[in-house]
Every structure is written in structure tokens, then in C-alpha cells.
Amino acid sequence: MGLCDDYQTEGFYDEMFAADGTPRPHYEPLYRTLQGMRVEEFQARCELAELTLIHQGITFTVYGDERGIEKPFPLDLIPRIVPAHEWEHIERGLTQRVRALNLFLQDVYHDQKICRDGVIPRELVVNAAHYRREFQGARVPHDIYVHICGTDLVRDRDGTYRVLEDNCRTPSGVSYMLESRLILMRVFPTLFRQNAVRPIDHYTTLLLENLRELAPPDRHDPTVALLTPGVYNSAYFEHSFLAQQMGIELVEGRDLFVNENMVYMKTTRGPQRVDVLYRRVDDDFLDPVTFRPDSALGVPGLVNAYRAGNIGLANGIGTGVADDKVIYAYVPKMIEYYLAESPVLPNVETYLAWRPDDLKYIVEHIDQMVVKAANESGGYGMLIGPQASRAECREFAEKIKADPRNYIAQPLVALSRCPCFVDGRLEGRHVDLRPYVLCGKEIRVVPGGLTRVALRRGSYVVNSSQGGGSKDTWVLRNGGEEEGASAMQQAMPRAGGAMSQSQRGRASSPRTGGAPC
């Protein structure tokens, strides 16, 4: 009996199987492998993967969980496969979207033309929780605010890719994308011989290239560092991983200081000027002089140094206004306004409680909708109407009425599903996809992303803080979705990945000086 026998799509769009139960063409090689494999063998490979994860310390942190906050990241071994033509569409859509978002941020921090022309009400922008008035009028390198964007895509019942949200501040998860691939290459090496999977391991090289572009123009061999809030941050593993992979310093606020608008790093050989910071610290905590004075995580004077053009920051300051879920609803209009193009990737239909008509509709249909707070993330501050009790719905309706600007609602998208290995067999679980867009002189999207899985049966919440896991995401080469794809692609795991493992998990990397490129 094959692993895939008895698999049910249950009316959802399934990434692997068509409605009639036959595997989609781009999944055929995988299907054949799985059908030829005994459950015991699959189980053994899962155990190997789990051990690898634990040994490498690939974890994430759940705040407020008393049973020890650090957990290994659950990885499901059935990959999510995206055929080449679908990826082309996604790539085109994301490139377009991030271009528009950067033009929007440049505009709202300068002339606010989009507001004056009546496309987006100005009150939504200047009163957004993450709009930074202090930063109005400041010039930023190359007029780019968002250098790294993680946009969450979902597929609805008919398989259409839609944008669920943009993450323009400090999107995380890219380390899981990279690690998932390494683990799959180790546990299922043969699969990579049968499928033409495009590589993703150049992500950190591209990222470093982008970061170096942000250095002040007179700095020819710039020093780049990654600023982390520290070991208690949920994404600390990722911070150390990325710094390690790029060969740059991993620093905390206390390792840096500002003098006369220049930023320096304290080293054993004295102060060393820093030219670019990949900062994984939120605006609020970045600089106690400009933002929250009680923050001990930041660097006093950093924001003014950035404004003076003496240091590059990625992402820029004030990008959170574009993450506001109310502003999200206007992104399709932004694309039309700035680029004179129609959006390639549609949004999910969104109701804004801020509009009186929408508010009425939301309150009346709350049991059919997903309601979200405008500025929360990680699956917090939301209500899934169809899965909530009446009391919960009523309570949420009151919250919305009390503060309509801060809530939006969307119909529950019947997220596509992908087979997952659960209790010795394959079952469908809902997934989303977060590709990572790098925006420098050109916009590049590494072919892949983080596929997040809602591991609990029937759940729609994919966030790792809410019981989500991940899958390796394979983008196939053009022509690679035909049967019997060439065996020459990616035969073996890359040396780069293997080498880095011995050094993983350190609190900080040695002070190497300049970063290799």
C-alpha cells in the first residue's frame, strides 16, 4: 500500500493532487517515490530530520509559554512544489508590489501626493500606528525604504494566489527556508536528482550584496553588521544564522556607539566604523533618543546618524506604515497609481471597519469572517469567525466598534492544502507561502520561500507561535515539471551549507572586519 493511498482533498485546492485524486504533473516524480516507499522508511527519514533539527539548535521562541520558551521548529518532509510558470507569475507580482510599496513610502515621507490626489485618505497614513512623523522629509539611500520584504501569499479554493499581508519591517523566517532545504537534501538526496529544483542558497550572498549597496558613497569596503535585540528575541537563531552565513558581525545595541553622527562598533582593537546595519530591532527600540526612551536595546544617536547619511539601515525607518492592514487594502490602488499597471497578484477581499458601511457589514457577518487588528502580527489579535463561539464574536464586535480604525475583516479564505505526514499517513493541511523579496538596485526574489503549515487538523493559523510548522518549498526550473526531469540538477547538498554547521548557534561570531563578498 502506498503512502498516498486514501488521501482525501476534501474539497480544498490541494497543491499535490487534482480534484479527481490524480497527482498534478509537477508532483509526479515525488508521487512515484512516495508510492514506492514503506511507511517505516518514511518514518525513519522523519526521525533523522528531527534529530538534525535538534542537534543544530533550529528553534523558535513562543512568548508567554511557561514550559520553556524555546522549541524545535517542526518541519514536514513533503515538499511544497511550485511549477515554473506559477513562480514566474508570483515573481512578477511580488516585484511589482514591492516597487509600489517603496514608492508609497518615499511619497508619504515627502510630498504625500497619493493623499493629495485622493487615492488614500491622508488620515489613514499620518495617524497609522507605525507612521514616523519624526522621519518626514528625511532622505534615505537610493530612496529605498524596504530592502527585505516577506510577503505572505495564500491560494484560495480555485488555486489563485493572493496576497494576505506584507511584512515591510523585519520579516523573519528566511533561516527556516534555508535550513529546511539543507535538511531535505540530507534526508531525501535522491529526490533532488529526480526533480529540477532551483537553488536558494545564494540568498545570503544577494542579501549581503544589497546591504553593501547601502553604505555611504565614500565607503568602498563597507563594514556591515547585523543588529539583534539579543538572545531573548524569538528570532535570535535566525539573526546568528544570517550573520554567520554572511560573515558579518552580530551585534547588540551595547556593542555600538555613536559619535558626531558616525556609528562605531567596539572591538578589541578599538572603535571600528560601521557603515551598514541589517537591523532586526523594531523602530520603537532602535534609538532611545528618538523613539522609546526606556529602550535599552537600541543605540542612542543611531537615527540621527542615519538621517545624516552616515550609515545605511535595512529596513529603513517608518516602513511599518505599509504593514498596517488598513493600508494593505489600498496596495492594489497604489500599484495603479504609481506604476500605471494592474496588480498581478490580487489582495484578499478586505473590509475596513473604518468605513461605516463596512463596519455594519462586518458586525452583521462576524461569524463568517476573519477579523484582524490593523497592527498585530504572529496570529495575535485576530478572530476566526467560523471557528469562534458566539460570545467570542460578540466580544470582538464590541472591540471593533470601539476602535474601528484598528480592525479589518476578510472572508475566510479556504487556504490551499498540502499533504503532510501525520501519524503514519498523509493528511491535507492548510499552507501559505512567504517568499523573500530583496530590493536593491534591482528587485530579486529567491526562487522559494517559507511554506508555513497549520499542523493542527482543520486549523487555518500557520504562525509558528500558534502551532505552525514549515515545509521546504521547491520552485522548479522551466521545463522541470515534465516527467523524468533531468538528473543532473543539484545532485548533492552544497559544501557551503555543510561547512557552516559546525559554527552554528554561537552567540556571536568573531570580529572578522570587512565582510567577504
Binding site: E123, R133, E134, G137, F257, E260, V289, P293, A308
Partner: protein
């Protein structure tokens, strides 16, 4: 008037401070009401000063990396002010509230209509507005003038009763405070009524009359409201006055946190002692005397 402003801020620390980063908003503005003719910032210990423009005024910042037990920030300026007759061009008779319902106005001044942490919408505001409406005429100016006087009467001016972090709720429970509290409360009432209003930090010349004027010893705070015709007009609830050419504006913002005259962080002892001296002189009279 030609006013000379002398503003000295001194921080004294019980042990040496080794690192200090500061932002100051002390440059008087140049706008339709006043022109900044001279400005000088003197620091002790000395430091290199950087400045830039922000919405609301000019920000200067500096850092000090030499150990020090005292930091002195001295701002001296010479400003020409013009609003000799604050009643000029104000409408007292016609109902002009339609102006505030205009969508273009509501959008253009959206940040001055929204509540903030220091200016929250409290149920008590509606009561104050009703009380004001009962006593005021039909125009917006009349409402604002009446509100200015009402707040002056309802609230007790008591330095030391509040501090910079006192919330509006606390102040409403115990309505004793200083110009900052008066200004925040008036802002909240105005915004709830749909009148764009902003916080102003600056200085007030006490004159040579024997009038008791509050807010001369330190920097002063009042508010500006957008009047029909789209110009800003100042109201000072602490002194129950319309703002005239005795007032010098340094910075405007949504509330106190946007305009803080001096702010910063330092590495050193937990406690410090702060003294502020402000002196505003009539420069023409000074010259005459010489």
C-alpha cells in the same frame, strides 16, 4: 515686538556622566507670526551641534563623550514678532463651523484631529464642550475664546502638582497643574469638536505691566487652532489670553512628546537635578535704555 530670549538648561549629576546624547528643540520658528533674527546654542562641555528640520521646527542634536558632572545648554535668540492685535480677522458673529466639516480640511490636518497618548478622548471632554457651547456665540472663534476662559476658571494653576508624564485622566480627576496640562486638555476638547489643534512650545514675554503672567520662569506651552480661512490662531488657557506678539514659538506638534525642548539619554548615575532659567526681554526697550 523685538524679543530677546535667554533659555538656560542645567543638568547636574551626582557622579560623572561618560556618554550623553541629546536632542533639543529650542530654535524659535520663522513663520507668519514671527521671524528668527539670531540664534545661538552654547554648550558646556562643548560639543559639535548638528541640526535639521522636522515637521514643527528645527531639531539640534549633539553628543558628549568626555566625563562631566554638569551639562549646560544655553539657547539665546532674537525674534521679531508681529501679531500685535490677536483679535484682528477673527469672526465673532457668523456661524462658520461648516469649515471643519470639509473633507479636504479634515484630511490636510488629520494629525491635529486625532487623539494621542497625551491627548486621549475622554468622556469628560463632551461635558466641557457643552458647557462652553452654552456660554459661547455661534462662531468657532467665540467657542474657542470661551473655552480658553472656561478652562482658566475651572483649572487651578499649581506648579509641581503634575509632572511631564501625568496623564489627562489623572489631571481631570485632580485639575491642578501647569501650562502643559492646560494645553493638553484644551487640545483634546478642540479635536473632539473637530477643530484641528496643535501643541505649541515657546516663550512668553511678561511685559512691564504689573499683571500676573504665568509661564515666564520656564518655557511655556499653549495651543494653536485652525480657524476658518485656514490660518492658525493661538489660545493660552493658562493665562486666559489670545496669543499676541508677546509670545515666541519654538516648536509645534501633536502633543508635548513632539516638542520636548530638551531630551536625551546618558550613561551615568540614575539621578540628576534639572534647573531651567528663562528670561524674555523687550530688545527695543533694552536698546533705548542704553
Amino acid at each position: 515686538m523685538l524679543l530677546r530670549v535667554h533659555h538656560k538648561t542645567t543638568y547636574r549629576y551626582s557622579a560623572p556622566v561618560t556618554e550623553s546624547h541629546n536632542e533639543v528643540r529650542l530654535h524659535p520658528l520663522t513663520d507668519e507670526d514671527q521671524t528668527r533674527l539670531e540664534f545661538q546654542l552654547t554648550l558646556s562641555p562643548p560639543a559639535r551641534v548638528f541640526s535639521y528640520e522636522q515637521p514643527g521646527g528645527i531639531v539640534s542634536h549633539f553628543n558628549i563623550h568626555v566625563p562631566h558632572t554638569e551639562l549646560v545648554i544655553l539657547a539665546e535668540s532674537l525674534v521679531q514678532t508681529y501679531r500685535h492685535d490677536p483679535f484682528e480677522r477673527l469672526n465673532w458673529v457668523e456661524d462658520d463651523w461648516g469649515f471643519y466639516a470639509r473633507e479636504d480640511i479634515r484630511q490636510r490636518y488629520a494629525e491635529y484631529l486625532a487623539p494621542t497618548r497625551a491627548v486621549p478622548f475622554h468622556p469628560e471632554l463632551e461635558r466641557i464642550a457643552q458647557l462652553t457651547r452654552r456660554q459661547a456665540g455661534v462662531s468657532a472663534a467665540s467657542f474657542l475664546y470661551t473655552l480658553t476662559r472656561l478652562l482658566h476658571r475651572l483649572l487651578e494653576y499649581k506648579p509641581g502638582a503634575t509632572h511631564v508624564h501625568t496623564t489627562l485622566e489623572q489631571f481631570l480627576e485632580n485639575p491642578r497643574g501647569v501650562c502643559q496640562d492646560f494645553a493638553h486638555l484644551m487640545l483634546a476638547v478642540c479635536r473632539r469638536e473637530g477643530i484641528p489643534a496643535r501643541y505649541v512650545c515657546g516663550y512668553l514675554y511678561g511685559g512691564y505691566e504689573t499683571l500676573e503672567i504665568r509661564g515666564q520662569q520656564a518655557s511655556h506651552a499653549w495651543i494653536e487652532c485652525l480657524m476658518p480661512g485656514e490660518r492658525w490662531c493661538g489660545f493660552d488657557p493658562t493665562n486666559s489670553l489670545l496669543v499676541n506678539d508677546y509670545y515666541v514659538k519654538a516648536f509645534v506638534g501633536r502633543d508635548y512628546s513632539d516638542v520636548t525642548p530638551t531630551r536625551g539619554v546618558y550613561r551615568g548615575p540614575a539621578h540628576h537635578e534639572l534647573t531651567v532659567e528663562v528670561d524674555v526681554k523687550d530688545a527695543e526697550r533694552e536698546a533705548d535704555r542704553r
